[in-house]
Symmetry: C2
């Protein structure tokens, strides 16, 4: 159950069994079917999720009804609607299982308790935030002013598994293109 999470932790920081068990005790298993929503716009986000198996995505819907996907979390990654989780305000975004998925969920109180009281977890959270920030930054600066074809090539370089595992429709929403345009571009590669 916790092998994946254990690997995540021990790959990043030296720790002991007691601490690991303390951490594990706060993460509750949660199995969800494809397309299940973990969070909808307007909800207040209560959990951080660790993906054991499957994939979840974070997206928003603009006023024309178009989806924009911000982030895919695959196995071995954390995902949540961070702004809402941090401030406990209604989310602007949706969190949804892309595939049938096995998750581990930790609630906000337990999460911050671990952050505040467990040296190892504090370090891990700092790493998560740093990584999340860098990833977000790369996506902004990496895409700004890029042509559509270059966006696809960027994805091919930095996150090729997304192209093979995720439907065209969702990839298009991740790149900010229409499915029709993405389909044409893929034919050119």
């Amino acid at each position: 159950m916790y092998e994946q999470l254990q690997k995540y932790i021990t790959d990043r920081i030296k720790t002991d069994e007691e601490t690991l068990n303390l951490i594990f005790s706060k993460f509750k298993p949660l199995n969800v079917k494809r397309n299940t929503f973990l969070l909808k716009e307007g909800d207040v986000c209560k959990h951080y999720y660790f993906v054991n198996k499957g994939c979840i995505r974070l997206f928003n819907i603009n006023k024309e009804g178009q989806e924009g996907t911000r982030y895919f979390a695959f196995e071995g990654s954390f995902g949540t609607a961070l702004p809402s989780l941090i401030d406990q305000k209604p989310a602007f975004e949706y969190l949804q299982a892309v595939e049938n998925s096995e998750l581990l969920a930790i609630n906000r109180a337990d999460f911050y308790e671990l952050v505040d009281n467990t040296r190892e977890f504090s370090f891990l959270y700092r790493q998560i935030l740093e990584f999340a920030f860098i990833t977000a930054q790369k996506r902004i600066y990496g895409f700004q002013g890029l042509e559509a074809l270059e966006k696809v090539q960027w994805l091919l370089t930095y996150q090729p598994f997304i192209l093979s595992r995720i439907s065209n429709k969702l990839v298009a929403s991740y790149l900010g293109l229409t499915p029709a345009t993405l389909s044409r571009l893929k034919a050119q590669l």
Copy 2:
């Protein structure tokens, strides 16, 4: 010299004079003229900067030679090229003073020493990262699929001081528009 930084800290966390002085002792004053580069692409970023007065910006130049501004740090804000600072790898970006500015610079070793050994600073850094991440996220999802005019309106709503304080050229590079387009849009508002 350290009033602004003191305010930043005490606004966010309760602390004592000794800790404040320890923190201040690591931040060295640095005055820079308008347009001075603090970091260029390919450099390894060595410092975190706190802006006492003035403004610095983080931007990159794409292969067509166009600038894309990612972030403006005004007085009372922190700014650096975080990916490079964290990993100590060559930066993809430039860091430049937009106006004559008074900065406080802390080097990487001192910064992480404070993070690791000072409870208050650890908390502050966590807040900085959370805030930076949320800001970056809002800019991605907020802009994805937006029309140019809506981007300007977004800026007017969330960061109006940028429009009044920063040149059209730089605002345009922040919004991913040409100066000509921005000029036309502003006439429509």
